[in-house]
Symmetry: D2
Subunit: 459 residues, 4 copies
């Protein structure tokens, strides 16, 4: 769960990357890094924290150059190891390169063991470092050297060789002294889009909302399995592992992760998310007074449900904009403090009403239980809880930070048990077919739905 | 523009105040302070910053006691003088008291001059300090000493004497060693509500959303002109300046300032704000494709407009949750950066559409102009900009931090000029009558509308 | 225990004050403040910490003006109340003034009570604030108004009236918009010197080492009881309480507190401190191998002892320049950690030797005990511990932060008991006469020796 | 210019390392790191800053284990790259190891190039990383595998192979899961001592003053070319490169760098430094009134000079204990501000006197010039400047951070030119023979004097 952003051919490359990463902040809040090339050497600045809090003007001024890549990293449990912050900058006998990675490599342990036996020393606990060593140590790369542009003959065979060995999810940006390279794994798990501004600067980003931030236009997706090289002689596209018939795009990006104002996988998140709500209304019509979204996650599905059902949407839960973790021990007299710091019911909307409460997903169930309790204490008469995606029963191994299987409420409890636990009158999950149909009725085909089914396309 | 919160009779008084102030954070982000009495002495902690970032667990643990008051302070221009952070704690010959103030005193200069001639030394530049000196120096207080409960004979005459001299807006909380006192000026400019939890702890707060946070029930408003004393012998209410016929509650609290999940001035903000939108639809029906709110301020008015007009509401502008001021100089190629860091248009919603854009107020016009530009670049066909309040033409002198008259766009430009400046097809402001009617058709009567008319009820 | 510094007529006034305060840092490490007048208004910057760590270049640039005063404050127990940091800036009906105080007022409680009855509100717990209120509230000042320069008629009668009421120790600097005023109490407890640089800028400082820092020449002491006014019309000297026959200068400044490179009380600290060591050699000759000072405090007395006795001085204890409090709990296996972090014996010097260990004073005895233990473990054969001042038996009430009487080892134990406790072969304190004679054989007469005798000159 | 410290077999290993590093703080102030093994895995904490400021109690509590190594790093120009902070922790196919290095590798560029060609990726710009890669990639290690204790057969051949390739100065500590290994290069450039406390804990340190801090006794030096392995089966010593006839210990450690209370190279720094002063008195007797050291560097040489010559030593320059870099631009009216912040002349000692000023070395000459100016302005009649070491004419390549040759005043100017530049009556440097003789008349033989001669023993 990370965001990546790249710029080619703009003297404000580091500042534009800073802006682009800010727009991708929802993809990672733990740490941020930017690498810039001035066509002679590559400099990096990496730090923990949010983009606009952690990076200072002086940092950006020090990052001179016209090609840049950046990375925001998701906060998993515990404090980050500073050495794991990306981009990783490496120097080897063919020069320097920096790499930024969104995704997760599944055969990391096998590859690591192999590399260590050859004398590799790992400095991070990140799977991304495997890519670095595979590139630096690549041998027998002749098979990849044919039909390459002359600028690409030095580095690309090494990269292709690495891609051949790596299994899993990777959208990569690689910065060399004079090149920007974008890579997407053959399954296309994670998104990666290409854009361009009026001055001709090219951009790469996890989501199109980052293109909006820098006033660039969305051109197209990087394709599954594609390696796109950008340098002074233009753009060149390679498919070193062959063309892939059926991609496995992560449907959870549409359900929850991507920003609603983004285009990813060639379609509008906003529309698909609303469509999931409409589909929910078709599958599970309910006689109620009001549709209330869990903010902000359930908002668009609730809107779709309201449109389709005709039941009015009201904001029965209001977000406090000044959240932040409280350190204080929950007071005995204040129940559900952690949720209360973020959300508050609007009694006027809730009191005496039959409520359809909508959220986009249900992972652990603890927060939902607290929200439901809060609504009941505010006077809700009935609560029908609808989820615009199926039960999550398996952990993601391709880069979404889902909890372990044991913590996933739907992997250990029946739906009736969950309904009881959360304390609602109705609990309904959107069907797998319904979810996929909502996303499919466009240009898309081929989603990874492993977290809902346990069927992993590659392991 | 501040928030105040008080607790009586709870051993977690400081922690509850911390939570209550967090719920009032929208009323002031510059600084926070809490004063607590352990029935023997009063301790204070004051600091710059947001409640949950600036106060540490140790701070709260150090604030032992069962009566507390707290204050959040609004960020006006420039960095705060730390000495101006409230509550102010003072020691004088009749003991100690702490005071927290929401509002603004209008005859502060006359009072200050008078007090300095008598030897008073001012340590802050806050108008609130005038109250402190007036209390400490009050003489000839015999007129107020009759008919007081014996617990009140020492301090209240001094307070009443001070109230007699002060003109302006004040909702006050005063903490003495064993008493909590709530005061609201006779005009009732600023809100102040009383609540109680199941354990019998009493609470005072600027808005009822803070009562929700501590799981207390809203009991009633403190009345204009009321002095409410809470101590071990119960609650006692006084009206030292007589009963007031017609209050002047700040209508801007309903329009913009208060949180939508609050009850203030005895009514729901949520409903009144939606009603203003419905009223707008009555006054200015427009043939358009979609209603788009400026988030979050215009959201409820847009919802009201959509309900009344039948034109669908869509979220054509999405907020970035990770805002924060950027330090970087706007890049030439990125227009309207400051707005872009917070809002992004959803092209799918906007492109080719006739848009009714709704916000709650229009003060300077600079942000609106940038938002409109952004929507146009995203492909909007027409933009009709409706404001759910009348033009702001005068600065508030009662505690809302409006810009100076010169900066208020409506005080220097005609509506047509503003429409041209912002670049919209239509610009319409809700009528004064329409606004007041939206708020009035409830228990309320008597609003201060000085910022829309220039008629100040007291100077 | 504080240091004060003032500058008149220099456009770099705040930067020169910053430098002067750095030279006085040994007099106070807790907090620092600077007030500057630009002849129109007075600005102040106050902060916790050391001068060069706490004040930033921007702070000094913001303090524009050509008259300044500054203050460094000693760290007593616990964390400072930020409101107690000096200079105090006050605004009253005759303008503004800032005040910086070194010393301690002994009748502070009586004066405070009186002032509070007249409506004074105290904002600090500092005795210095009493001066401020006495000035602001001074009445019946006619007696002081005669024979004053016209520039002095407004403010000086108020100051003189305050001085008449205050008992105790005060060296004061007062900054008005266009005047710098230096005041020393009639007993002359604390030092205060006047200096001038080649450009004609005038300086006031607690010690002459601060004049050296700004390349100013020492001119003279401010006299006990003197009020010196400096403004555009020159220097004017007043003695509002009459001339004082016999001053009570603090002899502890010579013994311990002042810097060895300073002139105070009209004499060189360096020479007097060495003379105390010579006197010690006369009073207590000892047959030993080496004289070892406790660094840095006992160094000059040790040098004097060595000169007089002919026994070589060696540095048997070496200071670590990188001290700083350690937070870690003393490990069982490491004895006397707190001392070990600062001092280490030089085994070559110590092993097998009969040592004369010299320090300037012995207050609690705990550190001395640890040092002695350390020297013994390094192989010292005999340790004769000589102190270049008499036993401290009473707390100072005039501004030196001595511990309470109970904590003073010499107030509860006999010399033989102390010798046993510390674990030395000999313990000898310089006689009271010997100490005073060492300081007296110069221009000085009249010392306060209350901490050695318990006879307080004024209470 | 670094300090290293190690602990074996103590459950407080990290806290003891923290204390030991504090005692070595003079060897490096830029950054600090500690690595600890709990016999199962190795954890590291590294940070910029001074030991006692940068490491928090929680940091040490997190570093559980009973074997530890630590490192303090010298501040060279510019801000440190955080990745260069030692110890370096590496994971490879034979487990993990952490390494801390004092010294400098001279053939680093050749080795790096070779390693990169084999696929090595360097993550730091530190020469120490070369050691890490050489160990991880060592092949053909059979020659070293004979006659090794079975615990040593896995790792030591790799280390020996690396030592065989590396040229230059290295005192190393290597931490493995269950072993502590100490290494000193065959020339013995940098010191490394072994100690033991009463509980049997073993310690390794750059200087013996760090043993004193943890109450351990100095046992012996690690010998030039020695590899000492410490583990559960005792201590084992190897000399993989054979025994070395003539060591080249860094004489600058004695002249300037080591602490005066340390034993290094088997002798007392205190005594040798004094002997250099005595030798100076023999070589250059001068008729003068007083010997004044530049504090603290020249102190012991001045003491030796005074002893030998009979001319009294006085402290004509006093150090301010509260130094710290000032940020403010030097004011025109304050000359030599940077020196003045640290040192102040004692006028009484200096005025009208013929002074012998003594320092331990003269590198750039700029500070000396300022000190001399300060003494002259304080009234010195004559200044004879003696240096207790020869002119520094070449940069050190073995780990002392001397300036470049161009910045060394003695490499570009004659002694007469330097005398003129500094502005003294006499300038004399101790002869090379005199310096070496002062250090030699003990157990020592074989010093590196390359900085004084330009003859580098290994390149």
């Amino acid at each position: 769960m990370c965001g990546i952003f790249g710029v080619f051919n703009n003297n404000n490359a580091s500042k534009l990357t800073y802006l682009g990463l800010h727009a991708l902040q929802h993809r990672g809040q733990e740490a941020v890094g930017i690498a810039v090339s001035n066509r002679y050497e590559i400099n990096v600045k990496k730090t923990e924290g949010l983009v606009m809090q952690a990076l200072k003007e002086q940092d950006l001024n020090n990052l001179k150059g016209d090609i840049a890549i950046g990375h925001v990293r998701y906060s998993t449990s515990g404090k980050a190891n500073p050495q794991n912050i990306q981009p990783f900058l490496s120097h080897f006998y063919k020069g320097s390169f920096a790499i930024a990675h969104n995704g997760n490599i599944v055969n990391v342990n096998e590859l690591k063991e192999e590399l260590e036996k050859e004398g590799a020393i790992f400095h991070t606990t990140s799977d991304t470092e495997v890519f670095v060593h595979l590139i630096a140590k690549a041998k027998d790369t002749e098979e990849f050297e044919i039909n390459l542009h002359q600028n690409d003959r030095e580095f690309l065979p090494l990269l292709f060789s690495a891609m051949k060995k790596v299994k899993g999810a990777y959208s990569l940006l690689i910065l060399r002294e004079s090149q920007l390279i974008a890579v997407r794994d053959p399954y296309g798990f994670r998104p990666l889009v290409l854009g361009k501004n009026k001055q001709g600067t090219l951009f790469l980003a996890s989501e199109s909302c980052a293109l909006d931030m820098v006033e660039a236009e969305y051109l197209r997706d990087i394709k599954p399995g594609e390696v796109l090289v950008i340098d002074g002689e233009g753009l060149r596209s390679y498919f070193p592992l062959g063309f892939v018939d059926k991609a496995h795009k992560c449907i959870f990006e549409y359900v929850y992760f991507a920003r609603p104002d983004s285009i990813i996988f060639q379609d509008y998140v906003y529309e698909i998310r609303k469509e999931m709500g409409r589909q929910l209304a078709k599958e599970k019509p309910i006689d109620a007074d009001v549709v209330v979204p869990v903010l902000d996650s359930g908002f668009l599905a609730a809107k779709g449900y309201s449109e389709k059902s005709g039941i009015p949407l009201e904001f029965g839960l209001i977000r406090n904009h000044y959240i932040g973790r409280s350190f204080i021990q929950p007071l005995q007299e204040i129940r559900d403090l952690s949720v209360k710091l973020k959300l508050n019911p609007v009694r006027q909307v809730v009191e005496g009403k039959r409520i359809i409460l909508i959220d986009d997903s249900l992972v652990r169930g603890t927060t939902a239980k607290k929200i439901v309790g809060m609504l009941k204490r505010a006077g809700a008469k009935e609560i029908h809880f609808l989820i615009s995606s199926p039960p999550v029963i398996s952990s993601c191994v391709y880069g979404i930070d889902t909890p372990t299987k044991e913590e996933l409420i739907a992997s250990t409890k029946s739906i009736e048990e969950i309904r009881n636990y959360i304390g609602v009158d109705t609990l309904y999950y959107l069907s797998l077919d319904g979810m996929v149909k909502s996303a499919l009725n466009k240009k898309n085909k081929g989603f990874c739905v492993a977290c809902f089914t346990g069927d992993y396309p590659v392991l």
